[in-house]
C-alpha cells in the first residue's frame, strides 16, 4: 500500500473538491457553501421572515463521486434512506447528468469524516431540493474534466471526443472508459473555472421516470441492515435507567450488587446517568432492575388537563407573524365575523424500528452505527459525551426503520458511547417500545382560533389564525433564541394564511413552554395547521352556501403560487369527479395545503357506520414542480396520507399519572390495514425546480376528512382524533 497516493483535497474558489482516494480512484464533488447551508437551515421550518441559524455551520466538503477502475461510478452522499427513496432519486439525477446507464451508478450513504458530511441531516423535505442543481453541476464538471484528461491521454483535441455511457471515444475510433482515464491520470486534476453546461431537460433519461428503488431488493429478502440489526464482535449490551414520570430526575441510587451480577461488565452511577453494560441484554436489564433508584418527581404533577390548559389561545399572547391589510378593522368590530376553535393532540412517531446505536470507543478512534437522520450531529453528540473530538468519531450511516423526525436526537449515541468508554468494549443500546413512549419527544399539542368573514359575493374579507403550540424547533437551539424570537417557526409551519382577504389577514403564533419534551414530527405544524385552516375555510364557504371547491378557487390569489394551488384543486376534483353523486351514505371533503415548495390537494371519501368514521378513498393531486421519480412522489403521497389518516382517526398521546398514558400500541393504536383508504394520486405541474415530498402530503388530510364528515353528518368536528358526537 506504500505506493497508494495520499488523500489530497484541493479547494478551488468555486468550491469544488477533488481527491484521489485509493490508487487511481478519482473523487469529485461540490462544497455546499456556507450561504447555501444557512439558507437551508433557515428554511428548516418555512422561516422566510426571520431566518435563524443553528450557530455557524461547519464548512463541510462534499465529495460525491468515486470512479472505480471497473468503470462503475459511486455516488457518496450523506442523505439517509428511511423509506423516502432518496438514494434512488439522487442516483437518477447523477446518472442523467453523467449520461450513464442505470447499472453503472451505485449509491453509498457516506460516513462522517469521509468528506461528504452534510450538516443539514436528512429531513425537512429538502434532500432533492438542495441537491438537484449542485449534484448536476458536479456531474457535468466531472464529465468536462474526464474529457480533458482523455484528450490528453489519446493525444487528440477535446472537440474530437464523444461520450457514451462512461466511455469516451475519439473520432479515430479509440476509446477509454472513465475508469481507465482515472487509472491512467498521473497529474493533478484541474477543475475548470467555467460553469459547466448542463444537459437540457429534454435529454433526461432517468429524471421523470419511475426507476425502481435501489434499496428494495434487500428489503424484501431481509438482508438489509438497520441500526437495530448491527452487531460487533465482543460487543456488550447496555441499558439506561429512565424515569417513568415526565420531569423526574434521579435522587439517589443504591447499586446493590449490580456490578457483580452475572454477565455484568460495567455499572455507571453518575449524576443523571445510571447505566449497565453486560454480556446479554437480559443480564444488563436484570442488573439495572436490581438497583435501588429513587426518583425526584416534579413538585407540581404534570397532568393532561394542565397541558391542554397551557396550550390554549390567549388573545393577549403571541407574536404576529403575518399581517396583511387591516384585519383588525373587521375582527374587532364586525358582527359578521365567525369564529371557531380547533385542537390537536400530542402524537408519537411510532417508528417501528426502536432506536438503536452501537458505539465502539477506542483510544485510536470511535466508530458508531446509529439509526440517525443526522450523522454529523450524532458524531458531535458522541464526542461531547465522552470528551473527545468530533473528528475522532466515524458515524456509519445505516438504514432507518422509520424516521418521521424522531432520529434527530444525539443522546442515543452519547449514552452508548459513555458505556463503551467505561467498559472499553463496543456497546449496543436498543430502546424498548415502552422507552420510546415514555422517554422520547412527541408532536406538540396545538390549539387554534380561526376567525373570518365572507362578503355576499363569496370573497373572504378578513381571516385570522391564532395558534398556540408547544415547541418544535426551539428545543435544538439555545434557550435564548426562543426567548428573543418569542415564537417557534416549526410549530406554525403551514400556519400562515394562503388565501386572499379583501380587508386583511393575520396569523399569530403563541409559544407555550411545556414540561414534557415536544419537537419534530413529520411536517412539524403542518398537519395541525392544515386541519384548522382547511376546516375553517369550509365553514366560511358554508356561511354563503358555496361549494367548498368553488370557494377555494375563488379565494386563492391570482399569483403563480395561487395558480398552482388552484391547479391541484382542479386536478383532484377531476380525479375524484367532484360534484357527481356518491353511493348513499358517502360524502367527499376537500382540502389543500402548500409546503416545501409543493402544493397538494386531497379529496377524502368517507362514510359513517356504528359511530365510526370510515375513510374509503383519498384522492390527491400533487404539484411538486420537477419530479425526479413519479412513483416515489406517489409513494410519499400515499405514506403522508396514511400517517395523516392515522392521526385524524385514531392517534392521541396523553399524560396519565404524570407519565405516558400509553407504553405500547395496545393503548396507542396506529392505523391498521382495514382502516386504510385506497389512494389515487395524480401528479401535475412541472418546471425546472423540484419541490419537497417527504412532508407536504400530510397537510390536507385531516381537513379533507373533517370536511367530508361535516358534509355527511352536519357535525363540525374540531378536535383530533375526530370523534362523532
Amino acid at each position: 500500500m506504500s505506493n497508494t497516493p495520499p488523500k489530497r483535497w484541493r479547494v478551488t474558489r468555486r468550491g469544488f473538491l477533488i481527491g484521489l482516494g485509493g490508487a487511481g480512484v478519482l473523487t469529485l464533488g461540490w462544497a455546499v457553501g456556507l450561504p447555501k447551508l444557512r439558507m437551508a437551515i433557515s428554511n428548516f421550518a418555512e422561516g422566510t421572515e426571520k431566518p435563524v441559524s443553528r450557530g455557524a455551520p461547519k464548512a463541510n466538503p462534499t465529495v460525491w463521486f468515486t470512479i472505480n477502475p471497473d468503470n462503475h461510478i459511486i455516488l457518496n452522499i450523506q442523505k439517509i434512506e428511511m423509506g423516502q427513496g432518496i438514494l434512488t432519486a439522487l442516483a437518477q439525477i447523477a446518472a442523467d447528468e453523467l449520461d450513464i446507464t442505470w447499472e453503472r451508478i451505485h449509491v453509498r450513504m457516506a460516513n462522517t469524516g469521509s468528506g461528504v458530511d452534510d450538516a443539514n441531516g436528512t429531513g425537512n423535505s429538502e434532500s432533492v431540493v438542495s441537491h438537484y442543481l449542485p449534484l448536476r453541476q458536479a456531474a457535468a464538471t466531472l464529465t468536462v474534466m474526464l474529457k480533458a484528461a482523455a484528450a490528453s491521454q489519446l493525444g487528440v483535441a477535446v472537440g474530437s471526443l464523444t461520450i457514451k455511457d462512461a466511455t469516451i471515444t475519439s473520432n479515430d475510433g479509440r476509446s477509454l472508459t472513465f475508469g481507465e482515464i482515472v487509472a491512467a491520470h498521473k497529474s493533478e486534476w484541474v477543475v475548470p473555472k467555467e460553469a459547466p453546461v448542463l444537459k437540457p431537460n429534454s435529454a433526461f433519461r432517468y429524471i421523470g421516470q419511475s426507476q425502481p428503488r435501489v434499496d428494495l431488493p434487500a428489503k424484501v429478502t431481509g438482508q438489509i441492515k438497520y441500526g437495530h440489526d448491527m452487531r460487533l464482535p465482543n460487543m456488550l449490551w447496555g441499558v439506561v435507567a429512565r424515569p417513568l414520570k415526565f420531569g423526574a430526575t434521579i435522587a439517589s441510587v443504591d447499586p446493590k450488587n449490580a456490578a457483580t451480577m452475572p454477565g455484568v461488565q460495567k455499572v455507571i452511577v453518575e449524576k443523571g446517568f445510571v447505566a449497565v453494560a453486560a454480556e446479554t441484554k437480559s443480564q444488563a436489564q436484570t442488573a439495572l432492575n436490581a438497583m435501588d433508584i429513587v426518583w425526584n418527581e416534579p413538585s407540581t404533577p404534570i397532568t393532561q388537563q394542565a397541558i391542554e390548559n397551557a396550550v390554549t389561545v390567549d388573545p393577549n399572547q403571541g407574536v404576529i407573524i403575518q399581517h396583511d391589510g387591516e384585519p383588525e378593522t373587521l375582527l374587532h368590530y364586525s358582527s359578521l365575523v365567525i369564529g371557531q376553535t380547533y385542537r390537536t393532540p400530542m402524537a408519537v412517531h411510532a417508528h417501528l424500528e426502536p432506536q438503536a446505536a452501537i458505539v465502539d470507543v477506542r483510544e485510536d478512534g470511535i466508530d458508531a452505527w446509529v439509526s440517525t437522520q443526522v450523522p454529523a450531529g450524532m458524531a458531535s453528540g458522541i464526542a461531547d459525551a465522552i470528551g473527545r473530538k468530533a473528528s475522532e468519531v466515524i458515524v456509519h450511516p445505516v438504514f432507518i426503520g422509520g424516521g418521521f423526525g424522531r432520529r434527530l436526537d444525539a443522546s442515543l449515541g452519547a449514552e452508548a458511547a459513555r458505556l463503551s468508554a467505561a467498559a472499553k468494549r463496543p456497546v449496543m443500546i436498543q430502546w424498548s417500545r415502552a422507552e420510546e413512549f415514555r422517554n422520547g419527544y412527541v408532536r406538540p399539542p396545538t390549539h387554534h382560533v380561526m376567525q373570518g368573514s365572507v362578503d355576499s359575493d363569496g370573497y373572504i374579507t378578513v381571516i385570522a389564525h391564532h395558534q398556540a403550540s408547544g415547541d418544535v424547533l426551539l428545543p435544538i437551539f439555545p434557550a435564548v433564541v426562543g426567548d428573543i424570537l418569542g415564537w417557534d417557526i416549526g410549530a406554525v409551519r403551514g400556519g400562515k394564511l394562503y388565501y386572499s382577504a379583501k380587508v386583511g389577514k393575520q396569523t399569530v403564533a403563541q409559544r407555550v413552554k411545556l414540561p414534557i419534551a415536544t419537537s419534530f414530527w413529520r411536517g412539524l405544524g403542518l398537519l395541525a395547521d392544515g386541519f384548522a385552516i382547511e376546516s375553517f375555510i369550509d365553514e366560511l364557504a358554508k356561511t354563503v352556501n358555496m361549494d367548498p371547491l368553488a370557494f377555494r378557487l375563488k379565494n386563492l390569489p391570482d399569483t403563480p403560487f395561487g395558480n398552482r394551488m388552484k391547479g391541484v384543486l382542479q386536478a383532484v376534483a377531476d380525479l375524484a369527479k367532484w360534484g357527481t353523486p356518491l353511493p348513499a351514505g358517502h360524502a367527499y371533503g376537500i382540502a389543500c395545503s402548500a409546503d416545501a415548495g409543493t402544493c397538494v390537494a386531497q379529496i377524502a371519501e368517507v362514510s359513517v357506520s356504528d359511530g365510526t368514521i370510515n375513510v374509503h378513498h383519498v384522492y390527491a393531486a400533487v404539484d411538486a414542480g420537477l419530479v425526479i421519480n413519479p412513483d416515489g412522489v406517489k409513494a410519499q403521497t400515499e405514506g403522508g396520507i396514511m400517517m395523516g389518516v392515522s392521526s385524524t382517526l385514531v392517534e392521541e398521546f396523553v399524560v396519565a399519572d404524570g407519565g405516558a398514558g400509553a407504553v405500547n400500541f395496545d393503548k396507542y393504536p396506529l392505523l391498521r390495514n382495514s382502516q386504510a383508504p385506497d389512494i389515487s394520486v395524480v401528479i401535475v405541474g412541472g418546471g425546472d425546480e423540484p419541490g419537497g415530498m417527504g412532508e407536504p402530503p400530510i397537510g390536507p388530510v385531516a381537513g379533507a376528512i373533517a370536511n367530508a364528515v361535516f358534509a355527511l353528518t352536519g357535525q363540525r368536528l374540531t378536535s383530533l382524533p375526530l370523534r362523532l358526537a
Binding site: V220, K281, L352, D631, N673
Partner: protein
C-alpha cells in the same frame, strides 16, 4: 437444545427459560431479517412461520418450537435465490418504504396465499390487518398480495 430454522439446525443454549424466539433469532443467531417492533404481539413485525403458520416470534417461547419447522424471511426465497411470489410482488409494486415491517408483512402474506390462491379483497384485508406499517404502504400491500396470489397461480399452473 436445537432449532430447525430454514431447514438448517441451530444449536442454542438451553437456559431452562422461555425466552422469546425473536430474541434468539436476532441476538443469538444473528438472523436479523426478523424484526422487533412492539415486543407485545401487536405490530406483527416479528412474524415468522412455525410449521407453516404465521406466528409472532416475540410472543413465542423458544422452548415451545423445538423440533418444529421455523421459517424466517431469510429462508423464504428458494435455494437458488428465486424470490417467493410475495417477495416478487412486493418488489414489482415497489411496496416497502423504510422496510422495517416488511419481513412481517411478507411472511404473513406468504402463509396467507399458501392457503388461498384466489383471495378476495376482503380476505386480503383481514389477513393483513394485524401488521402495522407506519410508512403507510397499506394500499400497496393489498394490491401486492393480490398480485402475489396471481404470480403463484401462474407459477403452479
Amino acid at each position: 437444545m436445537e432449532l430447525i430454522i430454514n431447514q438448517k439446525t441451530y444449536p442454542i443454549p438451553d437456559n431452562g427459560d422461555s425466552r422469546p424466539l425473536l430474541l434468539v433469532l436476532r441476538d443469538e443467531l444473528n438472523l436479523t431479517g426478523t424484526k422487533i417492533g412492539c415486543g407485545a404481539g401487536i405490530c406483527g413485525a416479528c412474524t415468522v412461520h412455525v410449521d407453516g403458520v404465521p406466528t409472532r416470534s416475540c410472543q413465542t417461547p423458544v422452548n415451545s418450537v423445538v423440533g418444529k419447522e421455523i421459517r424466517t424471511i431469510e429462508g423464504l426465497a428458494d435455494a437458488n435465490g428465486t424470490l417467493h411470489p410475495v417477495q416478487q410482488a412486493f418488489l414489482d409494486l415497489q411496496v416497502p418504504q423504510c422496510g422495517w415491517c416488511m419481513s412481517g408483512q411478507i411472511m404473513t402474506a406468504a402463509a396467507f396465499i399458501d392457503g388461498n390462491t384466489a383471495p378476495t379483497p376482503e380476505q386480503i384485508v383481514t389477513a393483513m390487518d394485524k401488521n402495522y406499517c407506519r410508512c403507510g404502504t397499506y394500499y400497496r400491500i393489498r394490491q401486492a398480495v393480490a398480485h402475489a396470489a396471481t404470480l403463484k397461480k401462474e407459477a403452479t399452473s
